[in-house]
Every structure is written in structure tokens, then in C-alpha cells.
Symmetry: C2
Subunit: 200 residues, 2 copies
Amino acid sequence: MTDWPGEPSTTREEMMLATYRALCEYGYAETSIQRIADEFDKSKSLLYYHYEDKEALLADFLRFLLEQLRTGLESIPDDDPTEAMERILDALLPAPMEDEEFQFRKALVEIRSQAPYNDVYREQVARSDETIRAGLAATLERGIEDGVFHPVDPERTATFIYTSMVGATHRAVSLDDPDQVVRDREMLDDYLRESVYREE
Amino acid sequence: MTDWPGEPSTTREEMMLATYRALCEYGYAETSIQRIADEFDKSKSLLYYHYEDKEALLADFLRFLLEQLRTGLESIPDDDPTEAMERILDALLPAPMEDEEFQFRKALVEIRSQAPYNDVYREQVARSDETIRAGLAATLERGIEDGVFHPVDPERTATFIYTSMVGATHRAVSLDDPDQVVRDREMLDDYLRESVYREE
DNA sequence: CGATACTGAATGACCGTTCAATTAGTTCGG
DNA sequence: CCGAACTAATTGAACGGTCATTCAGTATCG
């Protein structure tokens, strides 16, 4: 879900792809405008023609990511809540995680770590968090209505699940070990089986 | 537990305190040697007399933090596992979180986000994670032996709890909202009451 | 022809790091 | 006990490099 979709067709998409590549290759902290430009057919100056500054470019990149996230979540059918839950987890906390995906997650964790210092990043992070959390809550609510989930508090449980997902990603990233998410994912599945799903 | 202990008595401690202050004030990404020196009585050059480079200074700072963490954990009495569990959580995921503590957590999250790109940071992060995780596991094991905890898998459960703590911190930090940890802490306590503690 | 897309070279700020020079502290022979 | 010799601690100024950003100018196209 966080890897790249298809060929870029507009200049904006070309810049987004260049940004994506630079982030994967160098991480956020070492991604300079120059390095984004290197992944881009056109020149460095053109980036400044389209964006006021580096922050605006990155902010648009986060906006772009959010669009993709929403599209991805909308594509999950909601008729079977248990199935939907698994689909959301597979999309957002895949275990095992492919190499490029993992590289990109590292950069995303870096960006999230800058969010408290940067209003525009923080706004996008907040929207993205809320999109995921709300998706989980809606699925939980449906499962409870359908009688396939225990009558947990959907909002609080969604928050807890999402927090665990964030923790799993952050921990795997900071240890540079993609396999860490496998174990955390298992524990999360155990929790769902014990406290959310009514039966196996 | 992550705030500052007493007055610095050695030059090393002075440098550690200066680093701590710079990190609290500017965050990791914007903490330059100059800014650490500004929080330091002595000169910028002196930092290079004591440390080979910036990375070595920060690495020693992380080492210093780990020493404090271990001291803090050792001071928790282990006769009552339920009490010990709460003490560990209060120390590492205090809710509510004071302002300075929260500022410092932001910087720590930034440093963790750099760990995948930096061997020496990663080593310290790994040690610190393992110290906490092992402390949780030992407490769980004791509680199970004493019959006050359900017979969960201590290692896996400790990992899950720690992952939730990391997620709670990371999420609160990236939203720049200390109150987020309060809700996550409640959910974690609910989880413990449901799945770990034998009774209220 | 006018506007939009695009370029390469230049600028100034800051950053990590070095170094020659100075001061403070310690050791030790007379 | 004194001061000379030596080591450790400390300093300010300077250097080279990278970075984000600007800008005057060129190409493209409706």
C-alpha cells in the first residue's frame, strides 16, 4: 500500500516519484533537494518553480500519500468484518515486509519524528492517522453489529490496535530489522482472537 | 525517569547536561555542536577535545541515558509483581507527561528514527529496548510463578506491552499532543486487567 | 507574441571539524 | 618550598563543504 503504483503521467507525479525514490534511497534526513532532483528527469530549479520551498514539496508528497492511503482503504470490501480487519492489517502492517517497503517505512518514521516541529507535516500525519483509526473503528462497529465481534468499545479498541501497529513499525525500523514486525503482528492477531473476534 | 537527575559534577556530566538541554530545546535534527556548546560553560572546541566527533558525543549521551534507565529499573522492588508492573509503566509511559519530559521524548523519537542509518545509535537503542523488554518479561514471569498473573507467555507478552508503549509515545509525539498517551495508557491498563492480572 | 515550463550558475548561511596558541594543573629535582 | 618542565584542559579563529534558495535567461508551445 505504501509502495509505488504505476508510471507517473504528470509533472507532479514525476516529482512525487522522484521524492519517493530519494526517500527510499537516502532516508528523510539525508534527502536534499539536490538528491530529489537527481531522481528527476528535469532540473533542480524546476522543483522551485512548482513549489515554494522544500517543505511545500514534502507536504505535497504527504498529501499525495494520503490520497493513496484513502484509495487503498476504500478498495477493501466491508461485507465481512473479520476479513476486512485482516485486509487492513495486511495493508498497513505487512509481515513479512519487502525491502523497498521497509526502506520507505524508515523514511516515514523519520518524517513522523519531524512532525512535532512542523505544522504542515503534523497536519498530514494527523489526517493519515485519523483515516486509519477511523477505518479500524468502522470495521469494529460493523463486526459488533453483525455479532461476529465482541461488544468492545470501537473507538478505544481501534486506537489501541493502531497504537500497536505504530509501535511495531517504529520498533522494527529503529532496530533496522523487518522481522520484528512478524512477531508483533502475531501478538496483535492473538489479541484480536482473544478480545475481538467471537470465534475462530 | 528520563528527566535530569542532579547537578553535574564532572566535565562529562556537564557535556551530557548541555546535550540534554539542547535536545529539549531544539530537537535532535536542529541540535548542532554549536547549540550544545551554547548550553555549555566551556567552548565548542572542548567538545572535540573530549569526543572524536558529533556522533561519538551523541553515542555517549545515549550510553549515559542507558545507565540511568538501568539504575531506575533496578530501584523498583520486585516483591509485588502487580505493583512492579505499574511502577515500570509509570516510569516509562507516564500519563500525563510533563512538558520537559515530553520535549525530550520528541528528541528521543527523532534519534530512534536515525538509528537504522547509524550503527552506534542503533546499538544503544537495541540495548535500551532489550533492557525494558527484559524487565517486563521478568516481572511477568514472577507474577505467573506467584499465581497473581495468568499463565501468559512472558516473552511474547512483554514484547507486546513494550510495542504498545513505543506506539503510544511515537503517536503522541508525532501529533505533538501529550494527552494522547493518557488514552493509550488506559487501554494498556485495560489489556493488563483483562489478559494478565488474575483479578482486580 | 505572450505565457508557461524549464535551466545553470551563483549566493549566502550554517555546519562539522581542525589547529595553533594559551592557560591550568601536576610532577619533581634542588 | 620553589620554580622548571611537562601534560592536560581549554580557547578563538579559520576552513572547506553542503545546503536551500534565487535569478536572469532560454526554450516550448498555444
